[in-house]
Amino acid sequence: MANDAETGPGLTFPQDTFAKLTPRPYLLAHLKHKTPVRPNGRQQNEFRQPTINTGSLTHSNGSAVVRVGDTAVVCGVRGEILLASDIPHPPSDDLEEQDLVEELGLVVPNLELSTGCSPAHIPGNPPTSLAQSLSYRISAVLHDSHCINPDDLRINYTEPKTEDDLPDEPPKEVTKAYWTLYIDILCLALDGNAFDAALLAVTAALRDTTLPKAWWDPDRESILCSPVVSDSRSLRLSTMPVASSFAVFSTASHLKKREEAQSWILADADGFEEELCDETLTVVLNSGPSTGSGTTSILKIEKTGGTYIGKDVTDLCVRQASKRTSDIKTALGNR
């Protein structure tokens, strides 16, 4: 121990201490390195590979557990019946067919973060504004992508012919009830980028959803469901929205000149990086359900905070997002 007394306490820290004490310089040092690599060992544009499991929850109509790095999300879809006679304001006739799901509120996503998924989210607390805005963004994606076909949710009844009907008139089909899908998303562990993981869990769960055969019974005047599994049919998603988020780590400050600022785009930021990044970009791409290339269109580009992401950077991110989207589609299709 005499040797220690001579040299004094060491002036070097282990990495973890450096990261805890001065997170910003720690990340900056990694990114400024000759061969820049993020503290989590990923490249700047490298996403975490998701692990997807479906059908884990037996009591729901569809479910998925998605794990992206240390972020774990479980999603369950539950179908309930909404009687057409219970709808207070029936949709007007000029309503576009594809807007019916939104108008009647047939898809209700809710995201829960208060599960103790990270130190910032204490169990039992009311939903934070982060949780609420995530719920909103997921419902907006589901509605704007029109991925759920309203015809899949209708429970129709063909009225028998009465004597008043003209003989060659086709039988009248009326919608007696709708399926309402309650999508509950629980975040079990949160290590950044909750939105991408949650949306992936929702799409995986919806693809897994099967609804029992239901029909209107005119004698009982109610809806009956068949218990036979082979009668049930699965939900067909007409499109598949996939989100890719990017965060920007920047040294820009109002106390410095604009030219001196340096910025890095980090794909799929983890919790540590997310805390240090003010600027985020989310690109949601909408593509056909098949694994093939198909046509991919941009559904949403959302950017806020900071000033680094302009048109060029967005272009770059959209390209990375389309690569990511095909990866995700393969991961979903392979199951």
């Binding site: 609420q132 600027e279 941009i298 806020t304």
Partner: protein, 267 residues
Amino acid sequence: MGPDVVNHPLSRADGSTVLSNGLYTVIAGVNGPIEVQRRDELPEEAAIEVNVRPASGVGGICERWMETVLQSALKSIMLVHMFPRTLIQITMQITKEPSIKLRRSLYDFALMPTLFNAAITCLVDGGLPLATTSTAALAIISPDDQVVLDPQEKEIASCKSIHAMAFSANGDQILTQSSGDLNHEDWGKVADMLKQACIAAIGPAGEDTAMSNGVVQPEPWLRQHLEDEAKSAVRGKVKIEAQGRSREIRSSSAANSKDENQPDSAT
């Protein structure tokens, strides 16, 4: 055509504006820097709180989302480091909304630029320091692939995609919210047009209506508004100073008369 802005409608808020364009009317108020709750306190900068109140009812998840988006956008242009451990609270109430029913996401996206502009003007009115002037604008792509800036209600209802963006005076993109069925090229086109519109609204410094490529630029409404505000502030200041001076004169004359009658207590 820029929106109509009324300055300082609320007498008790530090800064306030009523901003109305064809679609929405928003009344915005800012208080700050004020005392902050321990839980929200930031050691090196001011915390920003944005509250959005809908036209009817209480706010829901959609308002929370708008608040978080606006909060982070405003944080990047406000000089928050000047007021560490304080709070800047911005409250916005929607008082008029489009008369026809819009789909939820169209309604929200169309509202975003109005809220952003209302927030900026009320921050200026409250004398809170900003790093840059910035403004937001709305555009849609119509079903026949035309870009429409500042669309009408009906155009929004039938649009293919909707875009709300905010730019600063030097062309930095502060906020982007685009939604709908769009492709890469169209998005770039819309971004360019909105950037031009926003910069035109801020206006060139010390120039009259600029002409570029023979196209008349839209009037720089934000610049005009800010200039008017500055002028009225200066006029107000002159008035106050003038009043102060007359009061001084009056008080000094009163003191003089006092002097004559009795010795000044101070001396």
